[in-house]
């Protein structure tokens, strides 16, 4: 019943073969798969960390850029405002000058017109006076007396303002 024979050796060999087969075809693939998955997860986590870091960096960069852009925009607006106000000032000054010029021109024109009118009136007055003098002369008056009368008359005219004359 208990007989030890060559079966013992055969069983040892059988078991070693079995262990070898299981190791090669069952254990190794599972371990390899576990390792591969572990590596994959590690890789993914590393990548996620790196990505997060990258994202943080980008965010900071963009924030800095945005701040810079804001400053620039403010500068541009300020400059534009300044330029606009300068332009407005310049324009206003020019318009003022133009108005001034126009006013001056108008004044000169008025002056000239008046001078002209005075000239004209005076000539007319002289003519009228001559006519009046002729009539007086016709009444046989003394020639010298006549002259003096005219001169006085004209002088009287000069003294008064022409505009106030009731023509």
């Amino acid at each position: 019943m208990i007989d030890i024979n060559a079966t013992l050796i055969a069983q040892i060999l059988n078991f070693l073969i079995l262990a070898g087969i299981l190791r090669a075809f069952a254990y190794k693939p599972v371990v390899r798969m576990l390792k591969a998955r572990q590596d994959r997860i590690q890789e993914s986590l590393d990548k996620a960390d790196a990505d997060a870091e990258e994202a943080d960096k980008l965010l900071a960069e963009y924030k800095a850029k945005l701040a810079e852009a804001n400053v620039k925009a403010e500068n541009i607006v300020l400059m534009a405002e300044k330029r606009a106000s300068e332009e407005r000032e310049a324009k206003r000054a020019e318009v003022k000058r133009e108005i001034e010029q126009m006013r001056k021109a108008a004044k000169a024109e008025i002056e000239r017109e008046r001078e002209h009118a005075v000239q004209q009136l005076r000539a007319e007055m002289i003519t009228l006076s001559m006519a009046a003098a002729g009539k007086i002369v016709a009444k046989n008056m003394d020639k010298s007396e006549n002259e003096a009368l005219i001169t006085d008359f004209v002088k009287e005219l000069d003294k008064d303002k022409i505009g106030d004359l009731p023509c």
Binding site: A6, T7, L8, F15, I21, R23, V30
Partner: protein, 225 residues
């Protein structure tokens, strides 16, 4: 029904083999390999269903082995796994009518026990050198006798425990069937159920003791408690 204890033998190249034991061993090997193949084919990066169970078992085994033997013992994990699967299948195979367990033959159990013990000593000498041999002479050289008896007892207890349990279980199945009339199947059914339990427990004990012996040889010195 063959006579209990009488084995069919074949002679090959001047050696004697127990033919039935060999056939049952090959059948066991085939079953174990088939199960492993079914369980581990088609492994995917994202595990589903059965693959989860296999991975849990393998990682549990790795944890057990590395906690018992340290990192250096991890290469023994497939050996331990094969041992357990082989013994479990062997023990249960004999519960199927007309089949018998390879482990009801002392040749099988003693062979495995000797394999384990030889492996222990070879690995011990290989990994620890003279220090491993020296530890048989501690604390005093006289203890070498006790240590030697212990080392010799290891394969004997390992093999006879398993052999006795399985053989007794199978004998009792036959005896119960012969003793009880056919309309009284309860005792043999109960015994069959118990044999399933015994088969599992014996496979577990053999494997665990093998692990403990191997751990003794493989574990690094600073890891010893």
């Amino acid at each position: 029904m063959h006579e209990i204890g009488v084995r069919e033998v074949v002679h090959f190249a001047g050696l004697t083999f127990n033919w039935e034991t060999l056939c049952m061993t090959w059948l066991t090997m085939a079953i174990v390999i088939l199960i492993s193949w079914l369980a581990t084919r088609n492994l995917k990066m994202i595990p589903t269903g059965w693959q989860n169970v296999v991975e849990i078992l393998v990682s549990w085994l790795d944890t057990q082995v590395s906690s018992m033997m340290g990192k250096r013992g991890l290469f023994l994990a497939p050996f331990i796994m094969s041992l357990f699967m082989f013994l479990l299948t062997s023990n249960w195979l004999g519960l199927i009518p007309t089949l018998s367990s390879p482990t009801n033959d002392l040749n099988t159990t003693l062979g495995l026990a000797l394999l384990v013990v030889v492996l222990v000593h070879v690995l011990g000498v290989h990994m620890k050198g003279g220090h491993y041999i020296a530890h048989f002479f501690k604390p005093t050289p006289v203890f070498v006798i006790i240590n030697a008896i212990e080392e010799i007892a290891k394969p004997i207890t390992l093999s006879f425990r398993l052999f006795g349990n399985i053989l007794a279980g199978e004998i009792l199945i036959i005896i119960l069937l012969k003793l009880m009339p056919i309309w009284m199947p309860i005792p043999s059914v109960l015994w069959l159920a118990f044999s399933i339990f015994v088969g599992g427990v014996q496979a577990f004990i053999f494997t665990m003791l093998s692990m403990a012996y191997l751990a003794n040889a493989v574990k690094e010195d600073e890891e010893e408690s």
